[in-house]
C-alpha cells in the first residue's frame, strides 16, 4: 500500500489488543513456572525441579483422565459442529418459516440453563437408561457434551452465514451448479472460518466442563476437570500444572505446525 493514511487503524485498538493478549497469558506463564516448583505448592516457590513431571508421569489416574478428556472433547466437538452447521443452514438465510424461533430456542437452550440443573436432570434421565440397558460407557458423556457444545458451535457459524453474500451462490446456480456443488464449492469455503471458530469453541468448552461430567460419569470415567474438582477441597499440587504444561506444549507445537502448513499451502 503506497498511501500513508492507514484506513485500518483505530486509535488505541492495538494497545487494547496487546493488553488483552498479555492478560490472557499472564496466568499461563505463572502456571508453567510453578510446574517446575521443587516444593509441593502452586504458590510458594522452592526451587527448580522436574519432580512433578515425574509424579504426573507415574500417576495412571491422571493420565487416563487426561486422555479421556481429550477423547470426549474430540468426539463431542466433532458431533456438535456437524449438527450445528446443518442447523445453522436450516435456520439462517431462509424466508421466515413456522417454528423457526422454536428451533432457534431449542438449539440455544443448553446455554440458558445453568449447568448444575442440566447435570441433575441428566443424572436422573441417564441413570434410567443405564439401569434399563446396562450400557455405562463413555457414550453418555459424549452425548451430554455434544448437546451443550451445539450452541457454541452454532452461533459463530450463524454469524458468519448472516454476513455472507448471496450473489456468488446465485451466480453458481445460474450456471446450473447442483445444490451440493454450490454448497461444497462456494458456501463451505466461505463458511470455513465460522466452522473453525465454532469447532474450537466447542472443543474447549467440552474440555473445561466440570459440573455436568461430574454428575453423568460412571465408574472409572473421571476427566481431568473432575479429577481436579476432587482435589479442590484438599490440596492442589503442581502435578496439575505439569500436566497442563504438557498439554499446552502439545497445542503450541500443533499451532506452529498448522502455521507452517498453511504457509506452504499458500
Amino acid at each position: 500500500m503506497a498511501r500513508t493514511f492507514d484506513i485500518r487503524k483505530q486509535t488505541g485498538f492495538t494497545a487494547l489488543a496487546i493488553t488483552c493478549f498479555a492478560v490472557l497469558y499472564m496466568p499461563i506463564v505463572l502456571l508453567v513456572v510453578y510446574s517446575f516448583n521443587a516444593g509441593s505448592s502452586i504458590a510458594i516457590w522452592e526451587g527448580f525441579s522436574f519432580r512433578w513431571y515425574a509424579t504426573a508421569w507415574d500417576n495412571d489416574q491422571v493420565q487416563a483422565a487426561t486422555i479421556r478428556s481429550l477423547v470426549i472433547a474430540c468426539c463431542a466437538s466433532g458431533i456438535a459442529t456437524f449438527a450445528a452447521v446443518l442447523a445453522a443452514l436450516a435456520t439462517t438465510r431462509t424466508k421466515p418459516w413456522k417454528g423457526q424461533t422454536l428451533a432457534f430456542a431449542m438449539v440455544n437452550q443448553p446455554l440458558m440453563v445453568p449447568e448444575i440443573v442440566t447435570a441433575v436432570a441428566l443424572l436422573i434421565f441417564f441413570a434410567m437408561i443405564k439401569v434399563s440397558t446396562g450400557y455405562t460407557g463413555l457414550g453418555y458423556l459424549i452425548l451430554a457434551h455434544s448437546a451443550f457444545c451445539i450452541p457454541f458451535a452454532y452461533l459463530p457459524v450463524r454469524a458468519r452465514l448472516q454476513g455472507m453474500d448471496l450473489t456468488l451462490e446465485q451466480a453458481a446456480s445460474d450456471l446450473y451448479a447442483t445444490p451440493f456443488q454450490i454448497f461444497r464449492r462456494i458456501t463451505l469455503p466461505q463458511l470455513f472460518p465460522g466452522i473453525l471458530a465454532g469447532a474450537m469453541l466447542a472443543f474447549v468448552i467440552s474440555l473445561d466442563d466440570v459440573v455436568i461430567t461430574e454428575f453423568v460419569k460412571s465408574a472409572g470415567q473421571d476427566t481431568l476437570p473432575t479429577y481436579m474438582l476432587g482435589q479442590l477441597r484438599r490440596v492442589v499440587t503442581p502435578e496439575i500444572n505439569a500436566i497442563s504444561t504438557v498439554l499446552l506444549a502439545i497445542s503450541v507445537v500443533m499451532v506452529i505446525a498448522f502455521f507452517f502448513l498453511s504457509r506452504v499451502r499458500k
Binding site: L31, R160, G163
Partner: protein
C-alpha cells in the same frame, strides 16, 4: 426470486430443512430439552427428606423463590436473600459482558486487520490459554491477584502503591475471572463476522471525510453487529449461571445464582426450590434472548431487503 416458489419447491425446501435440523434436534432432545422437562416437573413437587423429590404436588418451591415466611417472627416477606442474589448475578454478568466487549472488540479487529495468512495464527493464540483447564487457570489468577501475589508485588516494587490492594475475594475479582474465562466467546463471533469486513466501505467513508470514530461507529460497527450481539449473548448467559469462578475467586462469601442453585441441589437438599430458581434464571435469559432474536431479525431483514 424467493417469492415465486412453486408448491413442489416449497415442499422440497421444507423437507431439506427438516433433514438439516434432525441431528441437532435428536441430540438436544436427548441431552438438553428432555431433561429440562424433568426440571419443570420437579419444581412443582415436594422436596424429599434427604434430597430428591416426593411425588406430591406443591407450589412451595415457586412461592419461596420470591417470598419467605420468617422463621423467627412468622411474618411473610419478600425473599430478599434470593432477590439480592439475583440482582448481583445480573449486575455482574452485565458488567462482565461490557468489559469483555471493550477488550474483545479491539482484539477481534486487531486480528481481522492482520495479513490474511497470519489471522489463523492469531486466533489460535487466543485459544491456546483455553486448552489449559479452567480450574487451574482460575487458581493461577487467584495467585496473581492475592494480597501477597505477583500483581501486588509488582505494584509495590514500582512504588505505585504502598499497601497491597485487596483484589481477591471481591466483586472485582469475580468479574476479572469471568471476563478471562469468557473472552474467547466474545472474540470468536465478532472475528467471524469482522473477518469478511469489506474495507472498501471504510475507504469510501474516509473519502467522504469521516473521522475514525465515525467510521467505527457508523460503518464498521453496524456491519459486524450480528457478531457483537452473538458474542454478548454467549458471554452474558453463562455468566448468569457461573459457578466455579464465583466460588474460587469470590471466596464464596457472596453467592451468585449458580451457587445458590447448587446449594439447593446440594447441602440444602431442596431440589424443587433449586428447580424453580433455575427456571427463574431461565426467564431472565429468555428476556435476553428475545432481545437477541429481535436485533438479529432486524439485521436479517436489512440484509435481504
Amino acid at each position: 426470486m424467493a417469492d415465486d416458489l412453486s408448491p413442489a419447491r416449497a415442499a422440497r425446501e421444507r423437507r431439506s430443512r427438516l433433514l438439516l435440523l434432525t441431528p441437532a434436534m435428536i441430540i438436544l432432545l436427548l441431552a438438553a430439552s428432555g431433561p429440562l422437562l424433568i426440571v419443570l416437573i420437579y419444581s412443582f413437587l415436594t422436596p424429599g427428606d434427604y434430597g430428591g423429590v416426593v411425588w406430591k404436588f406443591s407450589w412451595d418451591a415457586w412461592f419461596s423463590v420470591v417470598a419467605e415466611r420468617d422463621f423467627f417472627t412468622d411474618e411473610l416477606s419478600f425473599a430478599d436473600a434470593h432477590l439480592s442474589i439475583f440482582w448481583r448475578s445480573v449486575k455482574l454478568s452485565l458488567m462482565t459482558t461490557v468489559a469483555a466487549l471493550i477488550f474483545g472488540f479491539p482484539t477481534a479487529y486487531f486480528i481481522a486487520t492482520r495479513p490474511k495468512r497470519s489471522r489463523d495464527f492469531w486466533m489460535l493464540l487466543i485459544m491456546i490459554p483455553f486448552w489449559t483447564n479452567l480450574l487451574i487457570r482460575t487458581f493461577a489468577i487467584m495467585e496473581l491477584i492475592r494480597a501477597e501475589g505477583t500483581v501486588n508485588m509488582l505494584l509495590l516494587w514500582t512504588g505505585i502503591i504502598d499497601e497491597p490492594i485487596q483484589m481477591l475475594f471481591t466483586e472485582f475479582s469475580i468479574m476479572l475471572g469471568m471476563v478471562y474465562v469468557y473472552l474467547p466467546l466474545m472474540i470468536l463471533p465478532i472475528y467471524a463476522s469482522m473477518e469478511r469486513l469489506d474495507f472498501s466501505l471504510v475507504e469510501a467513508a474516509y473519502d467522504l471525510y469521516a473521522t475514525r470514530w465515525r467510521v467505527l461507529r457508523r460503518v464498521i460497527f453496524p456491519l459486524v453487529r450480528p457478531g457483537v450481539i452473538a458474542g454478548s449473548i454467549l458471554v452474558f448467559i453463562p455468566c448468569l449461571g457461573a459457578y466455579v469462578t464465583p466460588r474460587v475467586l469470590g471466596g464464596g462469601k457472596n453467592l451468585m445464582l449458580g451457587n445458590l442453585i447448587e446449594l439447593q441441589f446440594g447441602q440444602g437438599r431442596n431440589w424443587p426450590l433449586g428447580a424453580a430458581l433455575s427456571l427463574s434464571l431461565l426467564a431472565i435469559v429468555m428476556v435476553a434472548l428475545i432481545f437477541y432474536v429481535r436485533a438479529v431479525g432486524r439485521d436479517g431483514e436489512k440484509a435481504h431487503g
